[in-house]
Symmetry: C2
Subunit: 355 residues, 2 copies
DNA sequence: GTGAAAGCGCTAACAT
DNA sequence: ATGTTAGCGCTTTCAC
């Protein structure tokens, strides 16, 4: 007994459009080939004559055929889904990464799933495991600091889920994109020193982020090359938030002999520094130069414009997803791609105030 | 001939975990019930004895059973997918909306699909139609100005796809969330007037956004109530971007008799106003008060803090998705929910400068 | 309140 | 180079 009507047999209005969507069977029938051949065409498999291929493609277009993703997933045991896991430190950053990953996914006809994760929360590893069990993403993209979360990485390994990472610590990722943050920070420092600054403060990133160590090391490299002795009193622990930038500035600007320039490990904190400097009536850059890192949209929306290191987050998201998809689709071998940085000079940086 | 092994029969290591994921059949067997009963439990259908329900649930937990979404989708002819369409005017805004929608989706075990759309681009309606054909989302969430895109709305209607909207023009949505923007703007104006301002400029939103008319009308309401004559020379067309805020401020502050307060139709433009004012050496709020709308994170990251209308974008995203899901799941009747606004007073607003 | 069986639309394995 | 068939894991329909 047949419970459901086959449109190939009975044409019945089923959607609001008045016509049921075409299935692979319909295309196959119209093209005079088997379903398997249509399947081959749509999956770009070999062993289809060119003439057959183009005929199938034309018919499919005529019938406005769109493969049903659920059926494909079920039969092929793939989800055609990539999940992006992020712990939202800065919505500007995340949004750019999303844009890039989305770009790569759309090109590959993959779908993107988003999952905000609180990596400090208990059970965040379990939450990811559950996501994997339920949706079976073909791969994951991780942003810092999830990229370096030992427990999470081990679990992913056990689950056999591939992942690509942005700015992961070396060894924690085989796939993804990263940037030589240490060299970038050093270069920024050299530039600042060249403008006559000798007392340069630093507000670090959060301890769980690899970026903290790299940017701090770059800061020290820059000082060393200039022959400036490292002064621990000028380094404050931040945690990537605007508020921690304000706090850091408060402490550094409250010193008896305050710095003439402040290098924050990201733009949000740099914005906090500018805010606090303004509160104190300091003029930027006359009284204080401020430097950031990332070049998020924020750096152009505050006054004065923020001098920062341009990190191509959108590209990094796209590249990481591309490397992942290479492996997923078996069309190549993914790697960790180094992307270029660039000093973005804006008006928050000026010559050192003369003593 | 059997091509694939059934784990219920043969236990074979299939995943890296060493154990194949449990299927509904396994749960049914272990609980001594039929698959249909397990299905009923998982879909919260009626007609299951409480004892049976809890036994099934316990077994499922023991076996770590997670329903396979692809199989569910295929069989039920639903995608368990909601797509969010947005034309990215401000990444802060979009990110908040995403967060809210995601929240609602996760609660309902729905997946979210993102689709940035350039509504000015040719073929954007076709792009959406293709997305619908391929992924068959059970519903869409639209953000302005897509909420009021005639061609798009008509197409969705024909395709029979439900949608919920944020801040849609009345009549363009049956589902979603909105805010009385006109009243909010008027209230803001009254507050500004109470501080002695008489010449108050306005930079409008983009013409394609309903918000433009509402916020402009509120601005005029506020002036009228204060008995201040509307001066068209004080209104500049903006387009929601930081840059258009800078431009608008440039023109208004260049007037012979410049305004003492500037109300921008969103925060990004207000940040542009502050930027331009600083460029001119004006002190805020002493020389110029600046007002925004939305209360995105940006309004707290600039100096001085921006006085603005708090629009709960995250809640609006969540609520819109909830209304949509009510209809999708047939568990209720969705509507357009009015959400509250709130004046967010910060230091960019002060008493009018005495002439 | 519960179950049996058909079938959703596709791909995998095996044939030809 | 192309076709045949079983089956992916669930929900639906209908029977009990």
């Amino acid at each position: 007994m047949t419970h459901r009507l086959k449109p190939a047999v009975v044409v019945a209005p089923a959607s609001a459009d008045g016509v049921r969507a075409a299935r692979m069977e319909d295309v196959a029938a119209a093209a005079g080939v088997s379903m398997k051949t249509v399947s081959r065409v749509f999956n770009r498999e070999p062993n289809v004559r060119e003439a057959t291929r183009s005929r199938v493609e034309q018919i499919a277009r005529q019938l406005n055929y769109q493969p049903n993703t659920s059926a494909r997933s079920l039969a092929a045991n793939r989800s055609y889904l990539v999940a992006l896991l992020y712990d939202n430190p800065s919505s500007n950053y995340v949004m750019e990464v999303i844009d890039g990953v989305l770009d790569a996914c759309r090109n590959a006809h993959y779908n993107l799933m988003l999952r905000p994760i609180d990596y400090t929360g208990a059970g965040h590893v379990e939450a990811v495991a559950e996501l994997v069990a339920q949706y079976r993403p073909d791969g994951l993209v991780l942003t810092p600091p999830l990229t370096d979360d030992r427990a999470l990485l081990e679990r992913l390994q056990r689950l056999g889920v591939r992942h690509a990472s942005l700015s992961a610590r070396p060894g924690n990722a085989q796939l993804g994109a990263s940037l030589n943050e240490r060299r970038a920070a050093a270069e920024m420092l050299e530039h600042v020193v060249a403008l006559g600054h000798r007392r340069i403060g630093h507000i670090t990133g959060h301890r769980d982020h690899g970026a903290r160590a790299w940017r701090l090391a770059g800061y020290r490299d820059g000082l060393r090359r200039a022959g400036i002795e490292f002064d621990p009193a000028l380094v404050i622990e931040g945690e990537h938030t605007f508020h921690s930038g304000v706090e850091g500035a408060r402490r550094l600007l409250g010193l008896a002999d305050p710095p003439t320039a402040l290098f924050a490990a990201n733009d949000d904190m740099a914005a906090g520094v500018i805010y606090e400097a303004c509160e104190r009536g300091l003029r930027i850059p006359d009284d204080l130069s401020v430097l950031g890192f990332d070049d998020t949209p924020l750096s152009q929306q505050i006054w004065p414009g923020l001098t920062t290191v341009r990190q191509p987050s959108r590209d990094m998201g796209r590249i990481a997803a591309e490397q992942l998809l290479l492996e997923i689709r078996g069309t190549g071998t993914g790697q960790v791609v180094q992307v270029p940085y660039q000093l973005q000079l804006r008006r928050s940086l000026g010559p050192a105030r003369q003593p």
